[in-house]
Amino acid sequence: MDIFDLTAHQLADMLKKRETTAIEITRSVLERIQKVDHDIRAYVTLTAEQAIESAKEVDDNCKEKISPLAGIPAGLKDNICTKEVRTTCCSRMLENFVPPYSATVVERLNQVGAVITGKLNMDEFAMGSSTEYSAFFPTHNPWDLDRVPGGSSGGPAAAVAAGEAIYAIGSDTGGSIRQPAAFCGIVGLKPTYGLVSRYGVVPFASSLDQVGSLTKDVRDCSMVMNVIAGQDSKDSTSAPVDIPDYTSFLTGEIKGKKIGVPRELLDGLDPKMADTFKKALKKLEELGAIVDECSFPHAEAAVPAYHIIAPAEASSNLARFDGVRYGHRAVPEQGKDYDLVEMYMKSRGEGFGPEVKRRVLLGTHFLSTGNYELYYLKALKVRTLIIEDYQRLFREYDVLVTLTTPDLPFKLGRKIDDPLALYHSDSYTIPVNIAGLPAISLPCGFVDGLPVGMQVIAPAFAEGDLLQVAYAFEQNTPYHKQRPPLKKETAKGSES
């Protein structure tokens, strides 16, 4: 295996034993980007020079002793603010936006000597499930370049799967970390709402957004969580909870764990997907877990409720983009003038792409006089019912398990013209955000050569349980060790 194919914990061990250097690792990843990114298109902004500098600093100051993430190259979804590095949200609105500060999650990574390789592609303002709504270009799935990597964190997922970053940080509002992780055959964790600071992450739907990790395996996921989890005085919704050492849950032991499988999410599954999932459940049983079908009566209601709550919050959050302090400003033709409202309307009309406009308009409609009670308040009541479903289930089960998404990665362009069909791709992940719970997606098999992801859901702040179950499954299956066969398939044949 090449250096770029290794995991963060393997590289940290090698650094500790002086078998490699941060510079060598960083060069390997940067060379990989050079070789494959013209096909994958995961990166929006590359920060190669800064990455080399950070790596040198780690090597010079033996920073690997501070944290196992020191000297390990990571990519960031492009909605995470980076001081003096362009942060676009993959929108024309923020195409030239250079933040004057970094997000807390970036500060935390910098403090432990992480090497940031650049900013990664996403659906515009994180609204989408395929990364095709990026205003710049779509990203391609490393397992099949004709297919989408999922979204909205498609850039981060594709980069990690293709060895263009050892791990990445993304955000998840309705499945935006887990669904692309599943599509790209890697591990994606959406932590409990409030566990990781959202300060400096461009908001989409503030009661649903959470920052999390995309990694090659569960141990890397635990290591990243050890760095990014924890209360932040700059985010008043970050929770005052004690942060354990998440690697301490990686025992490999799940005997007697009670696992619930919501039967409502098994209906209508593609037979090959259903078969893969059944095999995964059997493996959990072999490992000593007690697996039972259970009932999640409001599962189906979560998707429409989400598509009221998320656009409503987005319409409010995106009101800040008015062309005044930052972001795109429309300029009138020579000799003409805009008044203030015209300037607002034209700036937003030119700056936002079609999906963002659609959601902002829907959200505005749902919150307008006369509609608030009919839509928004109703959705918040359904939200309560979904939370109550989970509370009842977690009195009986330690964790719940579902497929991450009912779909295999679909062909580029196939669903983009039918947004409603695209929304169903997130139907297994959305209920988790509605209730603010933690969930992890990990590889559980392949169908037609494409990766399939399994989702494990736990009660709030029980990330340890998630990681314990996920690690035991992963260590007893081969899927996380497989890498996409890019060497043969890169269209331009640049790989030897």
Binding site: P100, T237, E342, R358, L380, K381
Partner: protein
Amino acid sequence: MKLTREEIEQVAELAHIALGEDEIIELHNQFNDFIQFVETINDINTDDVEPTYYLLPLKNVWRPDQHHQPLAPDEVFHNTHEHDGGFFKVPRIL
């Protein structure tokens, strides 16, 4: 509930988004499908159910009352299209 083209235009005005003719036609076609889809939650009985506004039981989040360095003016105005001294400049209002 179906929306007319005029209602879509009114929502766009409320949201301060200028739309082209093609966009209005496309949105008008899609909007009603979306609304029909989300209205499926009306089949759920929510009598006596309280809405959930906040996920975490957090109240009165305070930070220490300490001074901190604000952004320098250069940093504040770096991303603006137009400014004049210490002010953001916008089209004439009055």
